[in-house]
């Protein structure tokens, strides 16, 4: 299990291969990659800056992974989140979950991402033609995280 906050880009293939080689019990690996879009709220976005809360950000994601491990059979998990300046088409976030079977890997991967969106302290400031603005939190992200509360999982 690992959490990395970094300015550098990441390589899904390399990270997945490393996880797979580390444990022969793994039978399924699910992953999610978040990417910077060029449009938000109808405005063209040329660049964004990711700010975080050093220390708490890492702890909160570790806690989310622990919650996932309590609900599904997770053999390994990795979260990488980038900070600093990012441009459209850049990768922002990577979640990889390894399990013996796909159901656990799929569910845990989506759960980690939904919880990260609403609980991990990151803030986006985007640059548009009108200037820089802080991105507002989305109600749909809260709803995505909430639905896991009434969902007992598949195990």
């Amino acid at each position: 299990m690992a959490v990395r906050i970094q300015t550098e880009d990441f390589d899904l293939g390399a990270e997945t291969a490393a996880m797979r080689r580390g444990n022969p019990a793994i039978g399924a690996i699910a992953s999610f990659v978040g990417v910077v879009r060029d449009v938000n709220e109808g405005d063209a976005v040329s660049e964004m800056t990711l700010e975080h809360y050093p220390g708490m950000t890492e702890k909160s994601i570790e806690d989310i992974i622990e919650q996932a491990r309590g609900r599904w059979k997770v053999l390994d998990a990795l979260v990488i989140h980038r900070i600093g300046i990012l441009k459209p088409t850049d990768q922002i976030v990577l979640v990889i979950v390894a399990s013996a079977h796909r159901g656990d890997a799929f569910a845990a991967c989506e759960f980690i991402m939904d919880y990260l969106k609403t609980r991990a302290p990151f803030w986006k400031k985007e640059k548009t033609a009108e200037g820089a603005r802080w991105v507002d939190a989305r109600v749909t992200d809260d709803a995505a995280a909430e639905r896991w509360k009434s969902n007992a999982g598949n195990s």
């Binding site: 975080h52 991402m113 991990a120 302290p121 803030w123 939190a137």
Partner: protein, 84 residues
Amino acid sequence: MVTILYFARLKEALGTAREELALPQGVANLGGLRASLASRGDAWTRELAQSKSIKAAVNQEMAGPDTPLKDGDEVAFFPPVTGG
């Protein structure tokens, strides 16, 4: 003394990222501290008003207004998160 951290929009609006503060007389919890900071006027009053959706953490754990505070705590105020 407690350490108070401000992030993102809040940090810019208040013009500060961090301060050390002796807990004001009568302030025993997070809600009390927020109210005390909000009484400073100008941007403080505007940004920390009860109507504003502001999240908080104590010692790097999300915390509600009833969370007790003690000397040495690290308190943080920030807008709802927007990562991922």
